[in-house]
Symmetry: C2
Subunit: 208 residues, 2 copies
């Protein structure tokens, strides 16, 4: 039964896939080495052969999740819009993509909370979120430059922090209270706040 059947990298991937399945089902607290081994159909010891420790497994899973999670604003198709509308449109697109990725977002929230107590996790997540925030800076800079008198004391960085913070806040609400959280209502309010006049109608949808 035991033997060198599968090259190491492939087994690692299998185990990480099993870990992802367990973590999205039972959260990080349920991610035990035995549960991963059972999910992958291998023995408990093999997990330690490939990852040394549970911590190694968790960190490898975090790296995998961060790598395969698109965390960059998608500005495609918005080139013709005004800077402010472009920024708004990008935020909206990020928020709209959240509900369909609820499992993954929930797992990321777990890692996020874990990062409060674990320096390695914290650094990885802060780096990723920092890159996400910085990717917004060109958009926010253009928006501020288009109406500088409207944004006194607001820097591209601070506006990017608020924009990504808004998306992150929505992500957490999607995880925590998906039934009450209404994406269309949120976006309509965001539009009304950001666009002081001539507000295009929000997309149709349930509004509380």
């Amino acid at each position: 039964m035991a033997g060198a059947r599968i090259p190491e990298d492939q087994r690692r991937d299998e185990l990480l896939a099993a870990a992802y399945a367990v973590a999205t089902r039972d959260r990080l607290g349920g991610l035990t080495t035995r549960a991963v081994a059972a999910e992958a159909g291998v023995s408990n010891g093999l997990v330690f052969f490939h990852f040394d420790s549970r911590e190694g497994l968790v960190l490898a899973l975090l790296d995998r999740v961060l790598e395969t999670t698109v965390l960059a604003p998608d500005t495609k198709g918005t080139e013709a819009l005004s800077p402010v509308l472009r920024l708004l449109h990008t935020i909206e697109r990020d928020i709209e993509g959240l509900p369909e990725n609820r499992d993954r977002v929930a797992l990321l929230v777990d890692f996020w909370v874990m990062g409060t107590q674990h320096a390695g996790v914290r650094e990885r997540i802060q780096a990723t979120l920092g890159a996400y925030r910085e990717a917004y800076v060109p958009l926010t800079a253009a928006a501020i430059e288009s109406e500088p008198e409207r944004y006194p004391g607001v820097t591209p960085e601070s506006l990017a922090a608020v924009a990504t913070g808004f998306v992150e806040g929505c992500a957490i609400q999607v995880v925590m209270d998906p039934d009450r959280f209404s994406v269309p209502a949120y976006l309509a309010t965001l539009r009304a706040l950001v666009l002081h006049d001539a507000v295009p109608p929000a997309p149709a949808g349930r509004q509380p």
Copy 2:
């Protein structure tokens, strides 16, 4: 050593205080019955005598934390302001109070995450946050009524949801990344977004 020395309610309070100390130090994951007993200087069994189970202890602690946490907008001293400024001022006051309560907010975040998997915890937290949101509705209703043409498709409820969601998002950032999160920069940006013109200067402070 053992005996009926202290009336039940007092011991319960002592144990809850010990649980609070443990939970703010080691988070919910470190809240074991033995740790609480050691913190209170009593035996392990006494925890079960007073709370039946670890779950009972955790729920009692949650109730205590929710009761003693002021989660209602403070509008004192804002009666003379315009509705929009009043809403803004209230949000700012809530956000400014977060950093000094970081331990407590961190504990609430832990409970919040726990609520994802525990119906009892979820119900308690949703009820509290729902009451917080509803307490904002009079403020948001007045703000919308003062400039209805500016808020098409925005209801008092949806604006209250965004306002409290903004505060909650800030709370989580205070817990997760307190060094980078800048309250003054956030508030300045919020002011610029909400007030379309004649923006009063934001309070001085570090801005990233």
